[in-house]
Symmetry: C2
Subunit: 500 residues, 2 copies
């Protein structure tokens, strides 16, 4: 990684610094994150003034972030502020103090800019093409309309979790009257926006801490098998259940809710209700969470060059390659394994009947199959699966990520077992993974010496199936080994295979 950029986002509730290391046009990786709960919007009254305590907390956090950047080799800092500072009547006073005491010159994002960068971050990380993006912050909620991956328009309403909590969550647990007032205020926020009605057939995605937290609560309360929020979807019905649970609880009880961090326990109910009303008015049955938003959008503006807007033209392909590069994969060997596996896939279509989707996953798995060596050579198939499951792969559903991880897990040996991930997979996926892994395994052993001695192959569909290899040099060991690893193929396809 040649460069390090520090992106600072000073919001109404929290402020974060993320440090991203990158090599331009090549690869990037999140290296550090520091989060402080500054509650900058706390106590803002009718006069719209930031209060002395919150301002002091904001200044101290900015000083700390700046010295963090200086100590950790950050070469460029991008510090931005959002609604709390944008709307403050004493904005100038605050910005001057921040410059003077921390040395950071905050760029105050307009509503449109904030929506745009959130959109850039989310669209570069999710498969979303047409739909809406929601971000519920401390001071406001932003909704952005997206069509064909393009930014259409956005609106911002002062429905933030700090503001709404102060106004409506005044008893503990919340009284029925306050709860009703909260719901009504949230609903009113969105009914006011004339164009936000026609959402049929589109998708809803969410960014920001409030929605991430709601996703974590959903996962933790139902024993979800992945520890991963990005790409997670939950239904309106599940959200309603979460709200029913939270509204009956005292603050102290909420602090014990799995997935809910202590410093959000007081704000989460307002956040959940704001989302509920948005889903109600927009008639969304489900929301998908993006772990990436504003901060990543500010990064992608620098990183994705030659595209306008700066969106990855092949997000999934880039993301797989980025992961492979981070772990120093062997490009030539991996590409040859991929080519052999895809050649088997194509020629065996009459047998499996799979489509482009499976083919794409098989190709990606081949590129990633050896990344676990970065952890340790022994058991590198298990380490590789761990890395895929815990990676920042973008543009894939959780089901796809689990399938990729299982293909990596079984590229060398073992019978496919996917029980652990039942909650994420479809019933037919165990067979699907077993079949694709069988192809990957034959391809891997045909590249045993990593020397590309097996250049290509031709499949003769008989019984047994014969794979005739095209060889340059001596492939005795490859062919012998590949024949020893056909057990999974035989189990998965119910047919013998012979490699010659």
């Amino acid at each position: 990684m040649q460069e390090r950029v520090g992106i600072i986002d000073l919001g109404s509730n929290t402020t974060r610094l993320v440090v991203i290391g990158y090599t331009p046009h090549h690869s990037f990786k999140l290296l550090d994150e520091v989060r402080e709960t500054v509650r900058l919007a706390e106590g803002i009254g009718e006069d719209g003034q930031l209060q002395p305590g919150p301002m002091q907390r904001g200044v101290v956090a900015m000083k700390m972030f700046h010295s963090f950047c200086k100590s950790t080799g950050v070469t460029r800092i991008v510090p931005v502020a959002t609604s709390a500072v944008r709307d403050a009547t004493n904005q100038a006073e605050f910005l001057t103090r921040v410059v003077r005491e921390s040395g950071l010159k905050l760029r105050v994002l307009s509503t449109e800019e904030e929506g745009y960068y959130g959109y850039l971050g989310a669209i570069n990380a999710l498969g979303l093409s047409d739909g809406f993006l929601i971000d519920i912050g401390g001071g406001s909620a932003e909704v952005t309309a997206i069509r064909g991956r393009g930014f259409v328009r956005s609106f911002s309403r002062p429905a933030g979790v700090v503001r709404f909590s102060e106004r409506y969550v005044r008893s503990d647990p919340i009284s029925n009257r306050d709860f009703k007032a909260l719901q009504e205020a949230a609903a009113a926020t969105f009914t006011e926006v004339g164009w936000f009605r026609d959402t049929s057939g589109t998708t809803l995605a969410g960014i920001g801490g409030t929605i991430r937290t709601l996703a974590e609560i959903d996962q933790k309360t139902r024993g979800y098998p992945l520890d991963r929020v990005h790409g997670h979807s939950f239904s309106r019905a599940r959200l309603d259940e979460t709200i029913d649970m939270l509204r009956g609880m005292t603050l102290r009880q909420r602090e014990e809710v799995p997935g809910l961090s202590r410093d959000r326990a007081d704000l989460i109910l307002a956040g959940a209700v704001i989302l509920q009303q948005l889903m109600e008015i927009g008639r969304f049955a489900e929301i998908t969470v993006s772990g990436q938003g504003l901060r990543e959008g500010l990064f992608y503006e620098q990183f994705v060059v030659g595209e306008n807007p700066p969106l990855f033209s092949d997000m999934r392909g880039f993301s797989v390659q980025n992961l492979a590069r981070i772990y120093n994969y062997e490009a030539i060997h991996s590409a040859k394994v991929r080519d052999l596996a895809l050649s088997l896939f194509d020629q065996l279509r009459p047998l499996h009947g799979y489509n482009e989707w499976e083919r794409e996953l098989l190709g990606y798995a081949a590129m990633l199959h050896d990344i676990g060596v970065a952890v340790g050579y022994y058991d590198h198939h298990k380490h590789g699966a761990y890395l895929v499951i815990n990676s920042a792969l973008q543009g894939f559903s959780h089901r796809e990520i689990v399938m990729l991880a299982l293909l990596v897990r079984y590229h060398r040996k073992g019978d496919v077992s996917a029980d652990e991930y039942r909650a994420v997979l479809n019933p037919s996926d165990t067979e699907r993974v077993a079949r694709l892994a069988a192809l990957l395994r034959v391809a891997e052993y045909l590249e045993r010496s990593k020397s590309q001695v097996v250049q290509g192959l031709h499949v003769e569909l008989g019984d047994p199936i014969r794979v005739v290899t095209r060889v340059v040099g001596d492939a005795t060991v490859e062919i012998w080994d590949a024949n020893r690893r056909t057990g999974l193929f035989q189990k998965a396809f119910g047919k013998a295979i012979e490699i010659v």
Copy 2:
């Protein structure tokens, strides 16, 4: 990694190529391993001749290994052969064929050299200081005596698993008469050696595939929580149980034994009995397995410079630093966290009463606490624990490795839970880890901005305990954050702590 060395070891049963990447005097890492079961000693009769089939398999494997090295950027190849080639009456013919057909010039190790390199590999990876080292190969068994980490002497006997299996494991399952003959032959092998008797108070360690496999069977048949053979110990009683199980089984049944790979199923019984008789005659109650041996010894001869014999002077310290370097740890930040944690440890001695052992582990954990960032920033405490558990850390017991992993796991947040590893830990270790993790956590948050603003600290043992920091610059956030993370300290020590 600047260099890549390929080490090839052509044995009687298997041959392996390991590729190790390294930066001289700095760090190293196993990058690749290829293993072929060539059974070179198969069918050797009274005339001591390698047979045509096995020779052909040996030559083909050497060709494959050589092209593997060429394709994967190996800059130097160290190819050696052991007992099968050493003892072959047609050795010259075989070596000539290998050179001509594969281009590799095998160095035939003498018994002494083989013992020496095995010793180098094992002693550089285990805590063993005085005792014996056993390696049971395909054609022979070598025993080396070690005193004060020094090589004293070794002997080699033709008690190899291929030879003994061919001679004694002739019925399926083995007949009682053959089993008895096998035991007697194994015993006779070792009683012949006059000096191998006085083993009292010393340790037995083992290297090579036979003993690794016996360790894996032990682990798999009792649900051991770690997937790690190096450093594993098992008792003579457990070995006897394993032998009782194996001797009643047919070959096909043995192939299904967890931990036993298919291509060792026919040889393992002979190997287990050879080890049993060695333990009987040497009166060893337990054996500790080294995952490193001959091949690693050949590597260390190059890597460890300035020491004679080439042994790490501080194996544990080097190994921790090697791991930290592989994952590009932040040296200055980690060292400061270590210094602060150790300063807390030292000044709180009246409270915990721990010794140098705990102090050493705490220091190592501090060096490793952030390595999980290499996998992903989010949950890097969990990733770091995974990396430690799956690392090649040398010179540590499994108990110590688990403790290091748990310290990394809990360096940021969470209440310590060690249930998963009960089988490896002592009952008091949960408290021990909680207390050490509490110190590490306070130190980590005093280094929140990674800027060394907290230079040192002084502990006042009162109620609450006061930690007075010595600060350069502004440590507002550090002190505020550290005070927020004292919950674990309070739980683990039963005392409040206040940082000022």
